[in-house]
Each structure stands twice: as C-alpha cells, then as structure tokens.
C-alpha cells in the first residue's frame, strides 16, 4: 500500500523545519509518509536543504501554481507565517487548491492569540468564545481559523492546532530569554506565578503528526501545550540553571505591566501636528530637491522675511511643533515581549487533544529542557559542558 502523500507548507520556518527534521531523523515517523517540503524561497532554508528530502519553491499567492503543486497530495500541513496577504490570501489559495485537488486532510497551525493578550479564564478550553480584543496578529489568526473551518465544511477534513509560546531548539523565545537572562534584564510579573504556556517544538511537531494521521476528531480546534503548567519563575530558573547562575529577578505587578501596555500605544498625531510637520524645516528642505517645491519654498521664505519681525515671530510660534523629550527606557523592561507575555494567566489545557486524538507528549519537562540545553550549547549561546572527542585529520 502506498504511503500517504503529505505537503508541508512553510517548511523552512521554525516549526516547519523541526517537522521536516523529525520526519527525516525519527524512525517512529520516518517512513510513514511521502512528503514534500514547500518553501517560499531558499534564503532561510539551510536547515532543511542539508537533508536529502524533496523540496520545492511555492508562492502561495500564485493560485494556478499552488493548485498544480498540490495535485496528488492526500494531506496538507500548513506552517506558514508571513504578512497578512500571505496568511489570508495564501491560505485561501491553499484551501481552494485542496478542495479542487481532492486533498482529504488539512492540518493548520493557529495560535492562542485568538483569545487576546489577556485571555478570559474560560479560554482554558477550546470551546471558549474568541476574545474580540486582540492584536492585529490575533485578528489574522482568528480570520484564518474561520477560513479553515469553512474548508472543513467544504469537504476538506481540517484540524486546527493552537499552541501558545513555542520553546525548544531554534526557538526565538528561548534565544531571547537566555540573552536577556545573561544580561540581567528579566523581570518577573507577579513573582512569575502565571503559566508560560510554552510548548516544546518537538511536542508540537508530534501533535501535528498525530493529527494528520488521525481518523477522528476533524473539524475541531485543539490546544497544544505541555501536560502540566510551568510558571515563568520555574522557566527562567531552569534557563539560569543551564548556565549555573542564581539570578535575583526584579519584580513588577501585573497591573503595572498592563498600564504600561495600554500607555505605550502611540497617540495618533492630530491635524495640527501633521500640518506642522509639513511646514517644518526638515520637510521643506527634503522636498526642495524638486525644483517646483524649491521655488515655492523660496517664495514663501521671501514673503515671510518681508513681514515685520513681530509677525514673523507670531507665524513661527503658530507652526513650530513642540520638542518632545521621552524619558529613558524603564530598565525593568516592562515593554519587552518576555514581560508582557507574562500577564496571561490562563493555562490552555491540552486535555482535549490527548483525549480525542490520542496525543502523548514526546518530551516531558526535564527532557525538553535537556534538548534545549544541548542545542543552546551547540549554538554557542551558552558554554558547552563538554566537547565531543574527535581525532585530528592530518594532511
């Protein structure tokens, strides 16, 4: 019997590349599928182009090519990220091509950002209503989820997997977290007591593979998370232990961070301010490279200088914009993502995916941190504990 043909779209990204590596390295999945890694371009694909796997470039915004590329596949796993055009129009093209080509299964990677930056307590489970107060990214992911449910309604069995933060090797959150930890810039919100919702990338990959071969549970959204909540304090202490330090974390309250998040939205400039910008010396000098503007500017200057000093001063005082001096950055990093992410209090339980799809965690917390440590050592981001012994090759 031939193996199911799976198209992995967005295969050069953080999650996509981890999925390709798993399918290549792990005997448990190695020969289950015949897969093709679809990537947007080769610039970021080095992690998978080192492997002898089938790779093809695909522009998701080019529907005829998408349709042709996906012909003959049984399933699609979508790991793409990008701008809103790619995430919405690209996903639309994927879904339409799947439908027209008779693709049977579609696994889509969503995000808990659909529940907002400060999710309600009922979002511990997937059936909670989505929070309308979201970031722009959350809005796009929510719109994507709606599209995927429509694909399902149109005959392409679909599953939405919903991780929160993703950890493990190559995780930006881990790289950033370790760098900030070493720089002494980590703060704990409410003593770091809230759950991280960091799922190890290899556990997320396991969930994707379990989903794509599932016979049941389609047309549903599933949280993918570690089995038990891990607090931010535990998480940063785990990272600190990797480098043998015992940091004293500055503490801030959740209310302080929320206030800071609300206050950090830049005010939209008013009409007067915008008009002032148009009349500013910098703007006028900039546009004066165009002869017509230069001539207008010179004329305006002549008119102004012909007025009495009193009138010149009155006009200048009306159009001059105030000089805004911003305070130096708060050293407690209130606006950093690793701080703002700590205000989320809800643990998005993976109970449903375990119960309905039979998912089991590949790595428990200690093994997950161990693989993370090994990768950080490999990446020279923390000192290696030991070097593998190798014999020199003498010419």
């Amino acid at each position: 019997m031939s193996k199911p043909r799976v198209a992995i779209v967005g295969a050069s990204g953080f999650v996509g590349a981890a999925l390709i590596e798993r399918l290549y390295f792990d005997d448990a999945w190695k020969d289950r599928f015949e897969f093709t890694a679809f990537i947007h371009g080769f610039g970021n694909a080095a992690r998978i182009t080192r492997l002898p796997v089938k790779i093809a470039a695909l522009d998701l915004l080019d529907f005829p090519r998408v349709r042709s590329a996906l012909a003959g596949f049984d399933a699609i796993i979508n790991c793409t990220r990008g701008d809103s055009a790619l995430m919405l129009s690209g996903l639309g093209n994927l879904g339409r091509a799947a439908q027209l080509n008779g693709v049977r299964k579609f696994v889509h990677l969503s995000s808990v950002t659909i529940y907002g930056e400060d999710p309600n307590p009922d979002s511990a489970h997937e059936d909670a209503p989505l929070n309308p107060r979201r970031t722009a990214y959350g809005d796009i992911k929510a719109a994507q989820d709606e599209m995927v449910f429509k694909f399902h309604g149109n005959g392409v069995d679909s599953i939405i997997l919903c991780p929160s933060n993703i950890g493990g090797p190559y995780s930006g959150l881990i790289i950033d977290g370790m760098a900030k930890l070493l720089a002494g810039e980590i703060v704990l919100v409410d003593e770091g007591r809230y759950p991280t919702n960091i799922v190890h990338v290899d556990n997320l990959v396991e969930a994707m593979l379990v989903a794509v071969q599932s016979d049941t549970g389609w047309g549903q959204r599933y949280f993918v998370n570690e089995a038990e909540p891990v607090t931010w304090k535990q998480f940063f202490e785990d990272l600190a232990a990797m480098v043998g330090i015992e940091p004293q974390f500055p503490l801030v309250t959740r209310e302080e961070v929320l206030r800071h998040m609300q206050g950090s939205v830049p005010a939209k400039p008013g009409l007067k301010s915008q008009a002032g910008a148009l009349l500013s010396t910098e703007f006028r000098e900039g546009v004066s490279v165009v002869p017509a503007f230069k001539s207008m500017n010179d004329s305006a200057k002549r008119v102004l200088s012909s007025l009495s000093p009193r009138w010149q001063e009155r006009i200048r005082s009306r159009i001059t914009r105030p000089t805004i001096i911003h305070p130096v950055r708060d050293t407690r990093s209130l606006d950093h993502k690793l701080t703002t992410v700590q205000v989320r209090r809800v643990f998005h339980s993976p109970e449903k995916i375990v119960r309905q799809l039979g998912y089991t965690h590949l790595l428990d917390r200690s093994r997950g941190m161990e693989t993370t440590r090994r990768w950080l050592e490999f990446a020279n981001l923390i000192p290696a504990r030991s070097h593998p012994a190798v014999e020199p090759h003498v010419k």
Binding site: E21, R22, Y24, F25, D26, D27, A28, G41, F42, G43, N44, A45, A46, R47, T49, R50, L51, P52, A57, P169, Y170, D202, L362, L363, T371, T372, R374, W375, F378, A379, N380, P388, V390, E391, P392, H393, V394, K395
Partner: protein, 341 residues
C-alpha cells in the same frame, strides 16, 4: 596610473552580488569604466544596465566583449568559475573572481597556470582582507606586538540570509559545498592571511546528502613562534557574532566583521580597560569592494601586489576539499530519534 586612465571592465554574471555590490562599487570608482555586462540570460544583463542607467553592451556572449575590455569581474555560480575564467585568462585578460576561485583544487591550479602562461593574473574576492582592521591586525601579528598567539576562536553565522538569484548555493554540485564554501571561506581566508596554513584540522558538519548548514572544527598551526589551535563555527541557521577572538600572551584580541577600522584588545594586565586600536592613518570611508576592484584595475595597468591572488584562492580550496574529505557528523543530540526495530 593617472586618475583619468579608466580601466575597461566587463562584469560577468548579473546576479545579486554584481547588482548589489560589485557593480555599484565599480560605479563609485574613478578608475573603472564599466564596458559590458554579461549574463547567461541576456535580459538580466539588460535589466541591470537599465537599473543603473548604463549605456553599455549587455549580452549573453562573453566572447563578443572580451576583445573590448582590459579585465573581467566574474560573479557567476561557483561551478561556472572555472570554464569562464579559463576563457578569459586564455585571452590574456586578468579576472577578479568572486570567492571561491573554483569548486575544485585541480581547476584552481590549472587557472593559476594559465594565468602565468599568458602573463596575466587572478584576483579572488576575499574582501575582508581589504578592511583596514584586518590589515592592521596582520601587521601587529607579524610584528609580534601581542606576543605569542595561544589560540583563537572564530564564528560567522546568520539565520538564513544571502539568496543568489539562481539558488545554486543549495546544490552541492554547483556551489562546491555549503556554509563552509559560501561563508566560512571568508574567515578561513582571514585565518590564512594572519596565521598561514594550518598543518592539520578537525572538521564536522551537518550535511546528510546535500549542502551543510553548520560546520565546526579546529585548525592547528605550527609556526616559528609556536603551536596553537583555532576553532571555528560557521552557520546558516544561527546568528553568530561574526568575529575572531584571539588569545595572545598580551591578552585577548577581537576582530569583528562589523568593524572595518578597529580591533579591540583586552590586555591581561588591565582587565578593567578595553583598548581599541586603529591605523593612525585614517582610511576615510571603508569600501572594501571598491578597494579590491581598484587594486585589480591598478594591477591591470601595471603589475604589482595582488592582495588575494590565484594561488591564495587555490590554497583555500585545497584546504576546504581536504576538510570535506575528512568530515564527520556534528553531534545533534537534541534531535528526537527513536530507533525502531
């Protein structure tokens, strides 16, 4: 050479490096007369000429322009360096070849022989040698200013990055290798510039059948001033610091690819002070691509020193070939690998 004596150059290969670096550098130079653009796809040459408003010959046929130019800048996929450079050198014209010189050592040697036979020369695009900081470091090392070199570590890496138009860098047959050839070769060349050729090496990478994304290893040196090791790490998946850290008797010396003018010294006797050294003679705006093209032009008119010549490029390829031959796998013990059966 007089500043009015412009050297007529043809640019072979109109991909990303020519479009973004070599051609703009040539246009900034008062010594260069861009005479022709050549690309296997003639429309790429035409588009590039239009992009920079150039009224020059834009063609797919190198033979058409060779008689009309004094030298060529070659920036095509690595596997084409050998046949194209051979054609240029056999006409007695010099060629500046983007690194690596070729994908094979025997081809590199053959090109050097052809250049010598026809009384011309090869320059290889190792532009870091043109950084005033790299030259200053060589001078200070040669003068034993820092005392004995005890060891060094160098690393260069980015998460993704440079994407040649043709995508040839993802194909070993065309590129000659992965991150070692594409990026690491720059730092290998610098190490050869400063310390000479290593006597032995250890090399590991993560290639499973195509081109490596990461490689690590050690080069060992035996110099008149002592023996030492230098470790390296080159990556196409991880952002690294892009620098050399050289441990010397005097202290740690840091050279960074991000600073073309200065080197930093952390003196053992003054751990509280960071010293920054730069040439007393201010270099003005550092423009390494232009500097190399101008050196190439000057050598075209009157033979002199070629900072990175053909034999140097050949030595580099010999070492890379040797490393690939003795390659072992990098440890990736973070990968979940369940062995079934």
């Amino acid at each position: 050479m007089q500043s009015t004596d412009k050297v007529r150059l043809a640019f072979i290969g109109c991909g990303a490096i020519t479009r973004m670096e070599q051609l703009p550098a040539a246009l900034r130079s008062p010594l260069v007369d861009v005479a022709a653009l050549v690309d296997a796809q003639a429309e790429s040459a035409v588009a590039l000429a239009r992009m920079y408003g150039l009224s020059v010959r834009a063609t797919s046929n190198l033979a058409d322009v060779l008689d009309d130019v004094q030298g060529c800048v070659l920036a095509t996929p690595n596997d084409t360096h050998y046949p194209i450079a051979k054609q240029i050198l056999e006409r007695g014209k010099p060629v500046l070849i983007e690194k690596p010189i070729t994908t094979r050592y025997d081809h590199a040697l053959e090109l050097c022989e052809i250049a010598e036979k026809h009384g011309t020369f090869i320059s290889v695009g190792y532009r870091f040698r043109f950084f005033p900081s790299a030259r200053l470091l060589k001078k200070l090392l040669d003068e034993n200013y820092f005392g004995r070199v005890l060891s060094f570590h160098c690393e260069m890496g980015s998460a993704g990055g440079w994407t040649p138009v043709s995508g040839y860098n993802m194909d070993r047959a065309r590129s000659g290798g992965g991150v070692m050839v594409i990026n690491g070769t720059h730092f290998l060349d610098l190490a050869m510039f400063w310390f000479g050729e290593p006597v032995s090496h250890v090399y590991q990478d993560d290639d499973y059948g195509n081109v490596e994304a990461n490689c690590k290893g050690v080069w060992s040196y035996d110099t008149p001033r002592g023996q030492f090791d230098g470790s390296f790490f080159f990556s196409k998946t991880i952002k690294l610091s892009n620098r050399f850290l050289i441990e010397t008797e005097r202290g740690r010396v840091e050279w960074s690819a991000a600073d073309a003018e200065r080197i930093r010294v952390f003196d053992r006797n003054r751990p509280d002070v960071k010293f920054e050294l730069s040439s007393a003679r201010r270099p003005g705006v550092v423009d390494s691509f232009r500097d190399q093209i101008e050196e190439f032009c000057m050598n075209t008119v009157r033979p002199g020193t070629v900072t990175s010549d053909g034999p140097n490029g050949a030595r580099s390829i010999r070492l890379i070939e040797d490393m690939y031959r003795g390659a072992t796998r990098l440890d990736e013990s973070w990968q979940p690998r369940r062995v079934i059966g």
